[in-house]
Symmetry: C2
């Protein structure tokens, strides 16, 4: 062979593309050898093909599909010709980044919630305590009806504000007594920052002193913990205001339903 022709192995070393890849690009018509020996089938590449291989490598590094690259090679020989391709591709990549960020935020939230639950689990003596809450930004959906419908509120918030959620879910109760079928309550979720959303009330929930008790176990047994905390409040004659809160430190998670015996719910009764 002429000294100016390279065998596929040599060309592979020159371009950094594997032999497999070169054969594949040949098959796809993307990078066709200058000469193919009709008898042996050996591929031989020209020095001009080095430049073309470099172009393909650059475009692959920008994660263009081979199909797009083929289209670009057919129609372009200057950067200005591919501006449209570049912009479309960039938009797609940024779309992908937004998507990935969304996922990362969701995972982060699951981790944070679980961490917080573990911290509470380790620290809690499951006794009535008095503490000061920090103000927090929440998104809430005020509802009237059955408590069991609060899941709908959470999923509504999740759908609209998924990527802004920050902490555990909670629920505000505006009734001063237990209401079976006509309760007035508001499922809420903590937000990283205030964002507007239709049909959802986003605001800062005030902080302040409150009486709390962490309940461990299934929700059906929340009554016992309410008895305990209310007994404490009555005995100490602490004045309580509405709305009271339940913070779902650990419940049926985003992923697993988990064991109800391990659920952790913090009851918070604001002092006022």
């Amino acid at each position: 062979m002429e000294p100016s022709f390279f065998s596929i192995g040599e060309f592979s070393k020159i371009t950094g593309l594997s032999v497999k890849t070169l054969r594949f690009y040949h098959e796809k018509g993307l990078l066709v050898p200058t000469v193919v020996d009709t008898e042996s089938g050996y591929r031989y590449y020209d020095h001009k093909k080095i430049e073309k291989a470099r172009v393909i490598t650059q475009l692959r590094a920008l994660e263009f599909s081979l199909e797009d690259i083929a289209a670009m090679l057919r129609r372009c020989e200057d950067e200005s010709d591919i501006l449209g391709f570049l912009e479309r591709h960039k938009e797609q990549i940024e779309q992908g980044i937004r998507h990935q960020r969304n996922i990362a935020a969701n995972i982060e939230r699951i981790i944070a919630t679980e961490r917080e639950a573990q911290r509470v689990m380790a620290a809690a003596g499951y006794a009535v305590e008095e503490k000061t809450l920090e103000p927090m930004i929440v998104a809430g959906v005020r509802m009237r009806g059955k408590y069991s419908d609060c899941g709908k509120g959470f999923s509504q918030i999740g759908r609209k504000l998924g990527r802004h959620l920050a902490g555990p879910a909670l629920c505000l109760y505006y009734d001063c007594e237990y209401q079976e079928d006509d309760a007035d309550f508001e499922p809420c979720m903590a937000l990283r920052q205030a964002v507007e959303a239709e049909g959802i009330s986003v605001r800062t929930l005030p902080g302040g002193r409150c009486v709390t008790l962490v309940h461990q176990g299934p929700y059906e047994q929340l009554g016992r913990s309410y008895a305990k905390i209310l007994e404490h409040v009555k005995r100490k004659q602490i004045p309580i205001t509405l709305p009271s809160r339940e913070v779902y430190l650990k419940g049926p998670g985003m992923i697993f339903k988990g064991d109800p015996k391990k659920y952790l719910t913090e009851i918070q009764l604001p002092v006022g």
Copy 2:
């Protein structure tokens, strides 16, 4: 069949997973039907499987691989059990985001450079002009030797600071006359922000008045444009300082080599 068993089609509607997908998950052992009729081969799913399908869907939404999901389902039944998986996965996703951002930045840079070149191309009368330059942050590699080695400097900067690059490449010339083999020059690239890098000088290049001329054509013909601009400077008796600059508005691009007749190079001689 018992009313509590669902055929694959019903189960598909319940879970939102396609029939194909359900069969695939069965094959992978990820979501096995409660009962498989030995004669007809029909799959029947239990209501417990709905929960499992939901878990799988959630994990898929977080873009876990089916393999990872299978491992998680085998070993976990609570969110706390998968914290390790979640953290590793989050790290991977963030790695991916960094990668994508890098690509998006590269594309953005190519687009911006090309846009700038088009703007100059449209506006330029290819005449000697006097204008005021803005200060800019650059990364440079001072070199001594042949002009043709400046490509090495550019690739060195590109390797180390790829994701911070902002504008077109340029080159500073510290010789007051043309030097063939022992030139003193500095390939530079504009940065978005000041970043440190070993062996690379990052600093703010001062702005100020200068005499400029846009040269269109291959680099071999730069001499003509130099003649033109120097003639102008001499005639008007404008005092010139070093280093002079060449800004490569359009040259062999990141991707295509392009047509040398379309190359645009702006010669800038600082007035001082």
